[in-house]
């Protein structure tokens, strides 16, 4: 299986450890993984800002760069959903897109649904709080949400529960948005920060030691608040935990 690693632009620049953990994790599973170096950004910030015409050439590039792989994996539900669901706004009747949308996976989804892994040789003796990032939750359906009356499941949690010594924090609002929302975090700064602080408060009451999620963007926002408010919570992307990386001090 030819697997391409899709690294969101801000992860590439600001969180290389997350991308490296993703690569390690996939290689640990015996896969041959390639990082197509021409990749930059999927165009989500442009589309979300109403600038679909500026997103279009990036979508076009993306489809070119990632065509031909059997699977495309990214440590980000949001960017995967952009390609899988929202490229439909940009490209129409494009054969490359029709193929790629069926071959692109968020990391946890790929591990659970495609590789069907059942165990991970990792010891992680911490109380972990899982933030269910919205696009992974409600656009990729990585887990069931509290709005729908449907059977309950949670793929990221399923993976975390494979780890040795881990304890999962019990949140009061298990799937509420953290308030990041891309440019929303800046244009609606007041609401964004109130939302983020509320999420952090929920994790504090639940005794979270390590806060994790499948999207670094949500974590970037929450970590920004945690560090500003000097809260006793460490932040790690789920790829780092699953790959057996240590908790950053």
């Amino acid at each position: 299986m030819r697997v391409a690693l899709f690294v969101p632009c801000y992860v590439d620049q600001l969180y290389p450890r997350v991308a490296m953990a993703t690569l390690d994790l996939l290689e640990q599973q015996g896969l041959d993984v390639e990082f197509p170096e021409a990749q930059t950004c999927c165009g989500q910030p442009m589309l979300n800002s109403g600038c679909d015409q500026d997103a279009l050439p990036l979508a076009d590039r993306f489809l070119d760069i990632f065509s031909g792989y059997d699977a495309i994996v990214a440590p980000s539900g949001s960017c995967v959903s952009m390609v899988k669901n929202h490229y439909a706004h940009l490209v129409h009747e494009d054969a490359r897109y029709e193929t790629i949308r069926t071959r692109i996976y968020e990391l946890c989804e790929f591990l659970v649904d495609v590789l069907k892994i059942e165990s991970l040789p990792v010891k992680f003796p911490y109380k972990v709080g899982l933030h269910s990032s919205c696009h992974g939750l409600r656009e990729l359906r990585l887990a069931s949400d509290s709005e729908l009356n449907a059977p309950s499941f949670n793929k990221p949690l399923q993976l975390l529960e494979m780890l040795d010594g881990i304890e999962i924090a019990d949140l009061k609002r298990k799937d509420e948005c953290c308030g990041f929302g891309g440019t929303f975090a800046v244009s609606e700064e007041a609401v964004s920060c109130t939302m983020g602080r509320d999420r952090v408060a929920d994790h504090l009451q639940a005794g979270t030691q390590v806060l994790t999620a499948g999207d670094m963007s949500c974590l970037m926002h929450l970590a920004g608040l945690i560090r500003r408010d000097k809260q006793p919570i460490s932040v790690m992307h789920i790829a780092e935990i699953l790959a057996g990386y240590g908790v950053p001090q």
Partner: protein, 465 residues
């Protein structure tokens, strides 16, 4: 708290968030209802089937709306009602005024109708010397305060009982500082009783109109619609044309969904059916378009006509809960309002599609399955197409797109950015120009990007071989 003057959501939301304890109280009050709704939705194994049915019935109705409206008019007329057609708010108000003037009506009782709110009927009638009293308790409270409703189902959800006590003390001469809900409710009841008895005409909204029978249903929890139209001989019912459903058989689906989604009740306390005028009286039904038919032509936004105005999207919206209904500066706030208002007036409401993190909770909570958050995303491009976005928002995206099409330039600029983030003094990074840094720390900048580390790793792997 007076009505918000600005149309800019971030400005209004910022003001709302200044009082963090009130923001949290507002959030908790609405979350309580959202959780009640969850329990109710989960108590019905057929919940998702109901949603699917309701969604399909509404889609079908919208696709043949003209036919169903004519069928409704025929059947309502056969039952003795008079049906009026209004293309916009102005025409609606004129029609209502003409009916009132014909009957020399001076005192009107109204049961909550967001449509008359949308048409600004109250100030219009007031201008013509006619007293209109909103009889829904929440609606009456905001009316006394000369504020618009902040929620379509719970119009005074932004107010605490202390605020209500102050308002009633000022207008209804209740005891100063007495915040006992029973006392306050009883005072309102006595005050409203007088208004009901004196009324010349009753105005109501419509929750569901049924094409097959020509009848309609009004749902209230206080029975005020029934009281308002039982004593006067004239009943005026004002409805948006999207309130139609084809058959009476469909009604049960919507009644089961509406109350559960709105307030977490199994059903509203009163679901009153009206079929023609009372004996010796008159029933007027005003069918209002006011921009609705325009939505029928749009593949992107037609779905929003399915809305049954339950308010569930507001209760679940994390932004609404923390910015308050008035921050939307619109009759219908929250996710559905953020679609409907910019489509009617993009210039004033251009910030609303952006007052959203695209979390998608509204789409999953919606009982008629409106793809709210997807429409909000689409609408952002529409607002841009109408040239309503400032250059300060569009230019950075243009530049970013240009850079992202050049991977080498992007990698080079990324390196520079990281260097500055690491080395610049704090005051240059955290200042008034950086809204990220006002309340949050910036991410710590790593020395090297992933692509650089990856290239090095590949190189060393090659040399190892």
């Amino acid at each position: 708290m007076s009505a918000v003057k600005s149309y800019d959501h971030p400005t209004n939301a910022d003001r709302f968030n200044k009082d963090q304890s009130r923001t949290h109280w507002h959030d908790s009050a609405l979350w309580f209802i959202r959780e009640k709704r969850d329990r109710m939705a989960n108590s019905l194994p057929e919940w998702e089937t109901l949603r699917a049915c309701a969604s399909q019935i509404k889609s079908h109705t919208v696709s043949k709306l003209a036919d169903y409206l004519e069928e409704f008019e025929r059947n309502a007329t056969a039952r003795g009602a008079t049906v009026h057609w209004a293309k916009d708010a102005e025409e609606h108000n004129r029609i209502v005024l003409e009916i009132l003037q014909k009957h020399q009506a001076k005192r009107i009782v109204k049961s909550k109708s967001m449509l008359t709110e949308e048409c600004h009927l109250n100030p219009w009638l007031d201008k013509h010397g006619i007293e209109v009293v909103d009889t829904d308790l929440g609606e009456r409270i905001v009316q006394l305060r000369e504020e618009p409703p902040s929620h379509i189902v719970m119009p005074a959800i932004h107010l605490k009982k202390e605020d209500v006590s102050d308002t009633f003390h000022e207008h209804l001469q209740t005891e100063e500082g007495n915040c006992d809900p029973n006392y306050l409710t009883e005072s309102a009841r006595q005050h409203l009783r007088q208004k009901f008895v004196q009324a010349d005409v009753g105005i109501t909204g419509v929750n569901f109109a049924i094409a097959e029978t020509g009848g309609f249903v009004v749902c209230t929890n206080e029975g005020n619609a029934d009281l308002g139209v039982s004593l006067p001989k004239v009943h005026i019912a004002c409805m948006g044309i999207e309130k139609l459903i084809p058959k009476v058989d469909h009604l049960s689906i919507f009644l089961r969904l509406l109350a559960r989604s709105a307030t977490g009740q199994p059903i509203t306390t009163y679901s009153s059916h009206f079929h023609g005028p009372v004996e010796g009286g008159e029933l007027h039904i005003v069918l209002v378009d006011n921009g609705r038919s325009k939505l029928m032509d749009s593949d992107d936004f037609r779905n929003s006509l399915k809305c049954i105005r339950c308010g569930a999207c507001m209760n679940t919206c994390p932004v609404y809960r923390r910015s308050g209904g008035h921050s939307y500066a619109a009759t219908v706030p929250g996710p559905i309002g953020s679609i409907l208002n910019p489509l009617r007036d993009a210039k004033h409401h251009k910030s609303l599609p952006f007052a959203c993190t695209l979390c998608g909770s509204c789409s999953d909570v919606c009982p008629v399955k409106i793809n709210l958050h997807e429409q909000l995303l689409t609408l952002r491009s529409e607002v841009n197409r109408q040239k309503q976005l400032p250059v300060s928002k569009t230019m950075p995206m243009k530049i970013a797109s240009w850079v992202f099409q050049r991977p080498k330039l992007y990698a080079w600029l990324g390196g520079i950015g990281k260097f500055f983030l690491r080395t610049m003094p704090r005051f240059l990074i955290y200042n008034g120009l950086n809204p990220w840094g006002r309340n949050r720390e910036m991410p710590e900048s790593p020395p090297e990007s992933f692509r650089k580390q990856y290239a090095q790793r590949k190189k060393s792997q090659k040399s190892e071989r």
